[in-house]
Amino acid sequence: MKSRLITVLLFSGTLLFVGAATAKNKKNTDTPDTAKQTEAATANTDDAQTEPAKEETSETSTPAENSSPTEETDVRLTSIQSRMTLKVVNPDEAREQLKKIAASYGGYATRITDTNIVLKVPPTQITQAMEAFVKQGILVEKTIERKDLTLKIAQLEGKLTSQNEILAKLRSFFDDSDFTATLEIERSMSRLVYEIEQVKGELRYLYDQAEWAVVEVDFRFRERESVMYVSSPFEWLNSANLSTFLEEF
């Protein structure tokens, strides 16, 4: 009986160790990719700020996407977060209009304040939706950030599968275990269930991020470069500005 308990303890210990080591390895391999993704996202943001027309190009050239993370996953899961500042005459009307536009593309508003609105739209509709949003005012600035979540999700799903397998194995030990062994198995299982729930939570969050593109629209001018005097080779253009207008009026 004693030898049976030792076997159970050794087995559950080994399984937990293997599980933890696998998770750690995955985490280590995941870190550089995440950095790459963030870097790529930052580059994408910069591109979007300077030349919004390059959005689609930068989207397809993300390093993480080229690294073919999993063979099982065919569909890319991408998180899209965009932020734009619009100058509008009437923010209340603009908010209503933006909500209607989001709804027409299958989306909805998640947060509304006096100065901004956060909208969620399906990622496949993001380009068209943003074009429609921009028409509601003068676009002051726009950023768009894309992150490939495919690898991260695949890793978490793998972790979840292996944890569920360990859990099933531990359950099978119950039948032939004495009181002490049962307690030890239960402790291991509680720890495992807690970890499984954490992974499930992370997965739910990532799937939600991949399911909806988030667009935050701000109705005020953000801090930006102020107007400065620039000399023109065409003489009359040097007097075509607000300051001269006000001085001469």
Partner: protein
């Protein structure tokens, strides 16, 4: 009518004609009703109750270039200066004159303002109709101003 009287009358007409020519505003436009003539002298200045201003002036078309050239040059120059281009609207006036309005937004003090430059090229001269005002106040009269610009006519 005596000859002397006729001469006085003719002289009077002549004086009035010269005076009228001297005082004539070189431009005409059916200004929107919100705009009131700001200056009664030989100038073309209008203002609304809440401070949206409009004036016209002329500059030499030098180097001699087309409306399209000046439209692009103005956009380029003001964007370099930090103005935010929001719209370019090219149109024909009721008298068939081609014009282009360029609208820009810019921060002015604690407010956001609109600066609009409308360009008409008349051979050696460029006529500029400039309008400006606080963002929301300008937007309130923008449509009327757009219609009024179609009635603009330089009497040069």
């Amino acid at each position: 009518m005596h000859g002397t009287q006729r001469q006085i009358l003719l002289f009077g007409f002549f004086i009035c004609a010269v005076f009228a020519a001297g005082c004539a505003v070189p431009y005409s436009m059916k200004a929107p009703e919100q705009f009131k003539r700001f200056d009664t002298k030989n100038s073309f200045k209008y203002i609304t109750a809440d401070g949206v201003m409009l004036k016209a002036r002329e500059v030499d078309n030098y180097p001699k270039a087309s409306l399209s050239f000046w439209k692009d040059a103005t956009k380029e120059h003001l964007e370099k200066s930090g103005y935010l281009h929001s719209e370019t609207h090219c149109f024909k006036t009721d008298k068939g004159l081609d014009g282009c309005s360029l609208t820009f937004a810019l921060p002015h003090g604690a407010e956001d303002w609109i600066f609009q430059e409308t360009i008409f090229v008349l051979d050696e001269i460029i006529v500029l109709v400039e309008a400006t005002g606080e963002f929301n106040k300008f937007k309130a009269v923008e449509a009327d101003l757009k219609s009024a610009l179609k009635t603009f006519s330089p009497n040069l």
